[in-house]
Amino acid sequence: MIKDLAVMIAGRAGDGVLFTGNVLARLLKRHGWEIVTSRDFPSNIRGEATCYTVRASLDKIYGQGDRVNILLAFDCEAILAHLPEMAENGIVFCDGQGVAAPSPEQARGKTFHRLFLRTLAREQFGQEIYKNVIALGALSYVLDLDPLLLDGIISEMFLKRKGEEVVHKNIQAARSGYEKAREITAEKERHPLTRRPDENRILISGDEAIGFGALAAGCRYFAAYPICPASEIWQWLVHYLADFGGAVVQTEDELASLNMALGASFAGARAMTSTSGPGASLMMEAFSLAGMAEIPVVIAHVQRLGPSTGMPTKTQQGDVLQWIFGSHGEFPRIVLAPGTVGECFDLTVGAFNLAEKYQCPVIILTELDMGQDYRTSRAFDFSQVRIDRGKLLTPEVLQNIPDFKRYAITDDGISPRALPSWKNGVHLVESLEHDEKGYRDEDPLNRRRMMEKRMRKLDPAAADLFPPKTWGCQKAEVGFIGFGSTLGAILEAVDELRAKNIASRFLQLRTLWPFPAAEVREFLAESRELFVVEHNFTGELATLIRSQVSPCSEIKSILNYSTRPFTPRDIVEPVLRSRR
């Protein structure tokens, strides 16, 4: 019985690879399987090679696998490019255009079929664009999926926008693909997937889950500048925020995005912006303002490969220390790192509460692989969403405060907040060092007291932050520490090592700052051999651990600075090597 399977759609940008992959992912999800998708695409619109892998599993999965079982190639170059990734008994469908001559060694064990997708599409349906639905029909046959599931998805996609005729024609195209595959493949080549009930599950990307979390948490003002791979947060929110009484604003640059969010928050909105690499650097200036002026704000940063413009469509975790130690001056900030799409939702909801409770900027740090790829998740539970606006007063309470001080020095360092238009609350939000009322003050003693006030705000925050999560064996010699979307590969590495009689555990950090030093220290003490897994060159998390846990036992880094997310093999192999 097949328990885990990966289907890759490959071609050139403009071939509809994304469309085909997205529909296939939804189809397999409706079939009851757990899904993780992955896109490898260039940062242009047309012409260059691109591929989309849908991995489906009966077990809960969070990341990519190591092997492709079925390849659907829209051109022959795609076959040559991806054969090395294919499983032994892999099956390859190609469009039949051009000639591919893989080496006999690479071709061994695999079967190759021509589907003549474009010809079929043109001859039977008048347009080449139908090739994608024909391909989906063919895959439905090979995977033994219920054809009605695909019909349903086609109808959902096209009925409202394009009408009944287009739906009908697409369903016909799907059927012809199904029949064509039946005609050309042998029964033993099929990869039949058992069907399971698809209950209370969703298929969502991390970016969408962050947008959804923001909507649920009461975010009503979103300002951003377009950037890959964070724009999907905005592009999702823009459809809903106005309905909820809010606004989405496209700004001239990221300097404006964060400053505008700060203005909006000062005026009373739960406000947010999102960005990536270069945009985050531009935001560093206003990040410090948020810290000094104690303005709640949420910044979602979907990391991409740097430095500089780098590779905008590839994933990386190279911007960790920038948010923790970055910008001018010292001020409190919170950095959260979701490892699953469910956590993208939960941590975003939490981020808005933390930002208002502690009156500081909160970063949701994720990466392209989490942000743009789709994963199945248990449906979000909105009954668990709580909105905590911290020390935000009400106009009624404010009326009875004799001498309102926006930056009142309190035991916990957090001061009451009033909004413009509220009587009796007139104050200045000040980027200069200021007194309790917000007015500039250069007195040395005031400076010390204000600095201490701000910096102690997060001292008691640990109980409100998302604690690290421990996965894997109870007792283990090998320990892994990581954060974000590397979770999937690490968990599968733990399984693979267990199969080789090596017990290992994984400490998933969900709050990177304030640093969970106590939990990490304990985990280090319990691990004989410790690996920090992260998708960057210098080992930013390892550097952070060494700086925050002292004395620190020896830690080893497993790093990946290539263009692709970690696979389990990338983690298992270094562990095995170190034990030889």
Binding site: D198, R201, I202, L203, E208, F212, L215, A216, G218, R220, Y221, A223, Y240, A242, D243, G245, G246, A247, V249, T251, E252, D253, L255, A256, S257, N259, L262, G263, A264, F266, A267, G268, A269, R270, A271, E285, A286, L289, A293, F380, F382, S383, I387, R389, L419, P420, S421, K423, N424, G425, V426, H427, L428, V429, E430, S431, L432, G438, Y439, R440
Partner: protein
Amino acid sequence: MKNKEFYHRLDPTWCKGCGLFGVFDALKRAAAALAIEPEDLVIVTGIGCHGRLNNYFQGYGFHGLHGRAMPVAAGIKLVNPRLQVVAVSGDGDAYSIGLGHFIHTLRKNVGLTYVVVDNRLFALTQGQASPTTDFGMVTLSTPFGSKDFPIDGPSLALAAGGTFIARGFSGEVAQLASLIEQGMRHDGFALIDILSPCVTHNKVNTYDWYRKHISHVEDLPGYSPRDKARAWEVLTHPEKIAVGLIYEEAKPSFESLVLPDREKPIASLDLEVDGPRLRKIMDGFR
């Protein structure tokens, strides 16, 4: 109508004779003429000598970063359009480091009043050249004379689609107050560029110099601020600097276009979690 001293919080400590005194007085007069309650007024400032204004003026204030007054002010206005939001900047703020924000906020026609106090150099940092410094002028940063050709805020505003473009002179407070008041009444973005002498660092562009070089558009026969071609003509006049309400047109404000309901400001929304509605949205992911 209120007494203008109602908005006076503290006596300013700018250099004696600074043009900012005139601007401060004009702002108080404009607020008084509109009888705005201090809690309904937000003054957003940038960095420069003008930035002290928040300490002296009674009202909500936001003293942010150099050049970034525009996006902050726009964020405030959109979240609570009932507020009177006035942004104050210097020429460095508005036309140098914040030029992009200025043009884009203006083109969006956000309902702000933007008061740009132009003293033709960076005064707080001891007198370096700014984008409005005359060509050839000797400043702390240009000891051999400025090699940059100056730019003109109102001309940029006209080119970028501004809907209210005025220029005042801090030596003529009554007219300046009237321009600011009209700008506050304007539904959309109002630029009030102010010729404002720096008595400490700019020994060229003095009160007397300005009096000799300005011409009031209302004195021009048949001048109408609705005539764009004429506005362009007076702005590009080589010898005289046009002062007064130079151009005005009606265009929908940004907030009227993007906010679902201006009577229900984002600032006062009830944020309760609407489970059934959210679940319906989630069904799209099934």
